[in-house]
Subunit: 345 residues, 2 copies
């Protein structure tokens, strides 16, 4: 409890005085109490409670060099994408795992290049123990900034191009290529022969990898590809475009569920039945989207929240070991995907 008039909080010293012990002993008790005899420890805990003592964070950080805080860096376009359940789920995973490690999530919201300086200063200033960043766009400078700050960092999604110093940065990503491959193979297995692809923005590695998986599965027989923007509307537009150019399509693999749902709408508007006339597969398996459509989407599931948690664990690994020089190169993780069969394919 802070003194109501001065706002001053009790210090370790005050607790020590009250409990009749030294500051060191109080410190030990506050930090777990190892090596302090029970009766003494109890007396200290009592004093702590009576005084409403709460350790001063800055003082602790000053000596331990640990902050108990991790920055999550989200650039404007992605932040807007919070309406895409994808990001919300990933951040939720991060938030939960961080809480388990007694770390605070500090959200850094980057609105534009103007903010880069501020971010660099913040990261460099030792406010946080590490950083988690999402790198979606190829031409994004953020990854470079983060890497240069020398703060341990883990990326969500394979970074496009850490220009200049492209020493490996650890990242967590799902197996985009493999997932896409499986989705398309599933369509092939269904006897479909004219399989189109609605791709995401091709400056994002996830979209690129999914196109690769699609092409790989089809080999020379790969069909038309239209580019969308991972949104419902863009999926609808891409679908319309594909149908105009190739009215005889019998299957579509969309690079995410949002675009698949847009595509679905257009297919029905054109009087095409799903899956009878055109089979449709999405990606992500975001429940609120994939299960809500009619028919529900067959889609490639990735464990989004799990990937968020994994980012935190990787970071904690680096923090745990690496005092100074990191020996083992930081390792990235590519998580598996699974095909979830519903009614659309």
């Amino acid at each position: 409890m802070p003194d109501p008039t001065t706002g001053a909080r009790p210090t370790l010293e005050a607790v020590a005085a009250r409990a009749g012990v030294s500051r060191a002993t109080v410190s030990r008790v506050v930090n777990g109490g190892a090596g302090v005899r029970a009766p003494l420890a109890d007396r200290v805990r009592e004093a702590v409670a009576e005084l409403g003592y709460v350790p001063n964070h800055a003082a602790r950080t000053l000596v331990t060099r640990r902050n108990g805080a991790v920055a999550v860096i989200i650039a404007e376009p992605e932040f807007r994408i919070f309406s895409d359940p994808f990001f919300e789920r990933q951040v939720r995973g991060i938030s939960r795992e961080l809480a388990m490690h007694d770390s605070q999530l500090v959200l850094l919201w980057v609105e534009g290049a103007d903010d880069h300086d501020r971010i660099a200063r913040y990261l460099g200033g030792g406010h946080v123990d590490g950083a988690l960043a999402f790198s979606l766009h190829d031409d994004d400078e953020l990854p470079a900034i983060v890497v240069e700050s020398c703060v341990p960092a883990v990326f969500g999604g394979r970074p496009g191009g850490i220009r200049g110093r492209d020493r490996a940065v650890p990242y967590v990503d799902c197996d985009n290529r493999g997932g896409a491959h499986e989705a398309v193979c599933h369509l092939v297995g269904l006897g479909r022969t004219r399989i189109a692809h609605i791709a995401g923005p091709l400056d994002q590695t996830s979209a690129l990898d999914r196109v690769d998986g699609y092409r790989e599965a089809l080999g020379g027989a790969a069909g038309p590809v239209a580019q969308g923007a991972f949104t419902v509307e863009s999926g609808a537009r891409a679908m319309a475009e594909l149908l105009d150019r190739h009215p005889d399509l019998d299957a579509v693999f969309a690079a995410n569920d949002l675009m698949a749902s847009g595509a679905l709408r257009v297919l029905r508007e054109r009087g095409l039945r799903v899956p009878e006339d055109v089979a449709l597969v999405g990606f992500d398996d975001v429940a609120s989207v994939a299960e809500a459509t009619d028919p529900p989407l067959t889609t490639v599931r990735q464990d989004i929240e799990g990937n968020g948690r994994l980012m935190v664990r990787l970071l904690m690994d680096v923090l745990g070991e690496g005092n100074g020089a990191r020996d083992g190169a930081p390792h990235s993780v590519v998580t598996p995907t699974t095909l979830v069969r519903r009614a659309s394919a």
Copy 2:
């Protein structure tokens, strides 16, 4: 630049040595350089640049008792509402204003009552200079927790019930009652006589105040009220319900734009023309919604981003003056609304 092998960052001391001055002088230069002769200051700045010196935040906080960080507390249900452009805009305003005050936004995401302890500890631990919180639900314990932490705080939206110690907490809110009043008066001025209201969730003060404004404007002549949940779907449902019960409605005031757009859809489905048969007014003036409908919505505008910025300024006021005992009771601000006329009424 941290030492690449030890990870150690240069200290003030190192800079002082290199520049051949005292630590105090370096400190002065780093903090604005007032009262240091130019040549000396330049030498210091040079040393700072050469060494890549960045001040240690913890050390600075320890002595200044300022963190340069403000917590923004968002509870789960509201966070999900990021898909509602409303929240995004308000947080953006906060983020920008905070940046202007060289403060960091620390996002605290509360998922449930389990997190209350963690939040209380965080707030109590002196990690942040102040807190901004959104209090939407009447039965939310968050306001009480924030108030008890003794950290200066400003709320977004009039808090429902700070139970127990309900000494005034400062908040920023738009004039919900007045805005609603004006909207309804506008409908009356249009000659409408059977004016219904689609309310928001009645455990939120904003929704309550808007109902009040509606009733006040209509006096004894107030029409039917259906309750929604500030979402498009709930607006559609409420509209359907109202039309079933009162097919002769000639106007509707919806408590936000999202619900108005849902209502609009139902009106058209039932073959009613807007505004000819039924005039429609919304609330908030979220551009992506109000301007996108057909016809575009007449609505009550509030400066959402501005309110976010205002929250920060109020907080900074409190932080600036109040070293210890706050004298003047913290003041709340109710911002004006304006009616924006478009085609729907």
